[in-house]
Subunit: 327 residues, 2 copies
Amino acid sequence: MIEKFQQTIQEEIEKLSAELAVPPAELYEPIRYMLSLGGKRIRPLLTLMACDLFGGNINDSVSSALALELFHNFTLVHDDIMDNAPLRRNKPTVHSKWNNSIAILSGDVMMVKAYQLLSKGKMCDAILPIFNEMAVKVCEGQQWDLNYEQLYKISIPQYFKMIELKTAVLIAACMKIGALLGGAKTEDANHLYEFGKNTGIAFQLQDDLLDIYGEEEKFGKQKGGDIIANKKTFLLIKASDIASNNPYLKEELDQWMSVKTLNDKDSLEKVKAVTKIYDFVNIQKITKEEINSYHLKAVSALEKVSASPDKKKHLVEFTSSLLQRQS
Amino acid sequence: MIEKFQQTIQEEIEKLSAELAVPPAELYEPIRYMLSLGGKRIRPLLTLMACDLFGGNINDSVSSALALELFHNFTLVHDDIMDNAPLRRNKPTVHSKWNNSIAILSGDVMMVKAYQLLSKGKMCDAILPIFNEMAVKVCEGQQWDLNYEQLYKISIPQYFKMIELKTAVLIAACMKIGALLGGAKTEDANHLYEFGKNTGIAFQLQDDLLDIYGEEEKFGKQKGGDIIANKKTFLLIKASDIASNNPYLKEELDQWMSVKTLNDKDSLEKVKAVTKIYDFVNIQKITKEEINSYHLKAVSALEKVSASPDKKKHLVEFTSSLLQRQS
């Protein structure tokens, strides 16, 4: 079933990409480039699965699914400019392959194209407000992320609020929109929103973990990039919390966080040193427990949904498998 | 009548601005700042006038009018980053007052907020596709503009296509959307689109003219900024066309266009020299004739519309007055 959905999405993405082979190339090539980089297409896949869960025809949800994937890619392009990221999925980011202006503008048009796909889809009246609310929250999440980069320390609740906005509400919106297009009642669509939100938080925790404990080559990003950028990940905040009871560890972590590395050798040293602290406080185990706890919250929201138990099981298996990934 | 419409728009903008006094301030303050800079609010005003032209209730078009103004402001924020512009309406641009990341992100959320306003309005199903098509074209126009900055010379038709996309289709969409919300038939709404498109082209020609021949203080931009940036304005392209028959003039213009000025003194010298060439070829008169010709095209499209002759007259008077402006 999942393979069939993935194939549908791939075909639709290729169709869209072919339609975008038009001038001005500087505007549309970056979109085709982003779409060609692949990725797991988790968001459109979850949209289709949510639609199917209620016995809906996935053809009714495919253009909204694509809109959500396009919106996701738009956020990646703009975030990469703000984060000064050189690589995305092991390939140059749009702003490094072209330039900032092109990355800003092709990102903008990606967002508009997402709205175009939505407006072509069914039930646009019902779905547009959900999409808009999600999009506002994603921007807010990115802004909190930028703000927190300037702070020495943020709290665990601040972290969870930030990733809920930046990452989880998009997954939640995919589930809710897919559900509504599949014919779900409002109540069930809202349960699926909760399923998606908690799953999204678990995904982000997993992402934070993979920055250090992932298989670099498959992950397609610089290993320890979050440490080098002093990014406020769950690992850092939790380790910092634990270290507050251990003066030696605290000083060690504080010192490394104050280091701005300017070359690869220094960066590598910083990553090694911080990873050692992470290992010492057993951060991998703690993070995995946290991931599991959000996964269980998601599953319990899904249990409340009136839908085929078999299809619900598939959905849980699929998200579980994503949370086991090493890259 | 116009004063009443302007008041309605101002009140709605203030209401919106008050709603945006929420965290994260870094995301929403730039929007409030842009809205506070004023401007002539031509786009929402034309939307309301188009609605009123067909006897519609302007309350039915005010949220779409605001969406169009917000979209316009979003393009200004992002364009200013790409153009490296320090000033907008005599005040620091968002990216210079804050930074590029904040300008990118607050611009993004402005676009989403525009869609939120649209989705609140009437007839969203009919209006969303018009809005989307316009938004795509505006991005394309900006991309052509960026591309043309790299070229030594573009043709007059390339220029007109570029400003049609970048500037005129937004005015056209304002008119068409306002008309539909006012109850216009498709045919009349399309005539108003033509009216808006030709008026928008005339506005841009006027803008090009005011870069040199405007009253600087009122205009709120650096005088001759287009010349310093080697911007492909109607004045430059037309002067360059004329100069192609005059070897001395051609060499003089070519030489100045190849100068990249690095300080204020050199910039001033370049502006003076190019203005002298413009004066010599009588560019002001030629441009004014071109403006008049597009204005007449607009008026002739409006004549085809079945609506109150009095209200049509008001609309023509209003756009004429804008084309007489000196700043």
